[in-house]
Symmetry: C2
Subunit: 395 residues, 2 copies
């Protein structure tokens, strides 16, 4: 008989989506909602790369090569070389967003029933891709007290089983903003060698580091066969709608395998590739302004949060997220209340309850993720709202 698949039932809804109807209802009541809940950057896309699309000149909008335009792959290799990441163009498969790169990794390296170990909290959509692939996410817990530093090696050892095939890391981290150090990457290196595991590195936020240099997993030596880089231009160039990512590995067998998945879906989007190719030629100081802007916002956000009674927010070293512990029992309820029952000067704020980023439901209940994707003025107003809301909520 007709039924939904089990994996369809298991497939998690977006943890942020649950609150959307409440935000819409608030807007309908005339309340302005400051959105700190989503990772959609407000930074303007560089006009030069939008123009590259406008100037594109062809008669037929054809499929590209399944691995992506060779011209773009060669350019992208230049970008990595400039970042000190030694990658050749033929070690790159251009993907439809970073999402597809993750999917290709899960599909190529793991079978149904296999396991991937991820530091917790983690990007919620990893769960979705895991359900699609029929694999199990095991976690090693990181804590807000340590600023979400790499969990101790014992936590990984405890999570690793005979079915473990990979460790996955997002660096800098979504949702925590934590920037893993070279030393932490070296710890992971020892683990993947010892247990014969892949290391999946999601480095979507590579260019946004405020507490030192980014150390890419691709810079680890002696583990060429282990490391798969899952990348995207979405955040880097504020070009989320381009849907262009990359699956990168020096492991030829894995690359060839991922290529078969790439061939089945024919090709990544052509326009996005044109835009992304132009992006590599943006001036060398292109990221400076964006980074400075994000850093200013981070500083404002973190200092405002920590000045609120009972709030604790470790200072994130990268990306554009911060996690904060609030003086509430249940952040899900509080975030809904913010939208449903609170307004200050006809304004409120939308946050992402952290529960959606934890597999262990007993953790993170009083934490929220804040994306600093608003200018400092709006961010400051949003913090006013949150401060008043917490006072009112706890009265």
């Amino acid at each position: 008989m007709l039924s939904i698949s089990q994996r369809g039932l298991q497939m998690p809804s977006s943890p942020i989506r649950k609150l959307v109807p409440y935000a819409e209802a608030a807007r309908k009541k005339g309340i302005k909602v400051y959105h700190l809940n989503i990772g959609q950057p407000d930074i303007e896309t560089a006009p030069a790369i939008l123009d590259a699309v406008r100037r594109a000149d062809f008669k037929v909008l054809e499929y590209s090569h399944s691995a992506g335009h060779e011209t773009y792959r060669r350019k992208l290799a230049e970008y990595y070389q400039r970042s000190g990441i030694d990658i050749r163009y033929d070690q790159i498969i251009v993907t439809t967003g970073g999402s597809e790169a993750i999917r290709f990794g899960f599909m190529s390296c793991l079978d149904a029933g296999d396991e991937v170990v991820i530091p917790e909290p983690f990007y919620a959509n990893y769960n979705g891709f895991a359900v699609e692939a029929g694999i199990t996410v095991k976690t090693a817990g990181s804590s807000i007290e340590s600023g979400f530093a790499l969990p101790p090696i014992e936590a990984f050892e405890k999570a690793i089983t005979p079915r473990t095939r990979a460790i996955m890391i997002c660096n800098p981290n979504n949702p925590t903003g934590y920037l893993y150090s070279r030393e932490e990457l070296e710890v992971l290196k020892q683990l993947i060698i010892k247990h014969g595991l892949y290391l999946f590195a999601d480095e979507a936020y590579r260019e946004f580091c405020y507490a030192g240099e980014h150390f890419s997993a691709m810079k680890l030596t002696g583990v060429d066969e282990h490391v798969v880089l899952m990348d995207t231009v979405s955040k880097r160039y504020s070009a989320c709608g381009a849907r262009i990512g990359a699956f990168i590995t020096r492991n030829k067998q894995i690359l060839d395998t991922a290529m078969k998945f790439a061939q089945a879906r024919l090709s990544p989007p052509t326009y996005g590739q044109i835009l992304a190719e132009a992006a590599v030629d943006l001036p060398s100081d292109y990221f400076d302004a964006t980074k400075a802007e994000y850093q200013k916002r981070r500083d404002l956000l973190v200092s405002r949060l920590n000045a609120m009674p009972g709030v604790f927010c470790p200072n994130p070293g990268g990306a554009f997220y911060a996690m904060a512990r609030l003086p509430v029992d249940d952040a899900d309820t509080f975030c809904q209340w913010l939208l449903e029952s609170f307004a200050d000067n006809n304004q409120t704020v939308m946050l992402a309850p952290a529960s959606g980023f934890y597999a262990d439901r007993s953790r993170g209940a009083n934490e929220v993720r804040l994306a600093y994707v608003l200018n400092t003025e709006d961010l400051s107003r949003a913090m006013d709202c949150l401060e008043k809301a917490l006072a009112e909520y706890n009265r």
Copy 2:
């Protein structure tokens, strides 16, 4: 230890790709290769829709809604309404190509180990999506003698097991070009009702029908919960690189489930959606010229093929493919020979051996698929080559 996943090993390579190195070698020898092997249309993309992309005006290239821009979904619903297909915008999820629509269907309706029944021969990439989803493709054989009409109901009954969840049909068909009649669709309707199955309808070539009207599976009455339409603008508007398709169903539960998969990958490509939205507003006679061109080519191709000694090519009613039986033992060997060892006037032709479209390896050994994606002059020259090649090969 590090290894490729079993599904990665099982994942089929593109059946056409095997010949690519031979085509490249031929080109390097200075031989012109007429490509009848791939479904990349040569028809120019309408300038008006390319212009729509050039005129797009926004500051931030944002994620779209996971189901696609609402403006595009509303437009697309208009397109279906005009085609007599009663679909509302909120029954549509915009996908990244038709490929993703197929993936969403497999993932939402079937679990690993479940089965889908497809008339054979079939579009080879269905195999790839089946491997990704861990499902099994069972076939009901159609034959070149009948022009690849719907296999008899007994063939379906024989293929259906307790694990069968869906029947899948591509109409008009890739690779055969066969246009299923309303009567044939009604036969499938009885089957899906009797066995409680989904009907997946891939209608990528809907607009290219030469032997009567297209009858969409969406027009079947009383099976709203059963039918899932998997569509794409790739061939319709010669816009393969846009990567825009659609997952469409009146089954709310399935739509909601597919939506969770859509949310995990965030959004379909923005530029492609802009182009596809503009395409709906192309003049009402837009398809006439393209259809007339394809029909002219089909007529030329089919008559030339059937005039060759020992060749049989049923007249396809739609799409831009034809299947032909050649007077050779093994079409794979012959197609390779065409590229490796044959040239007429320094020209040769590349065909797709049909073996890649059959699950049953004993079938289709002497058949090829020809895509008529060349203008009639080139097509005629390609037929000259093939005719001479067959004579030489069989000497």
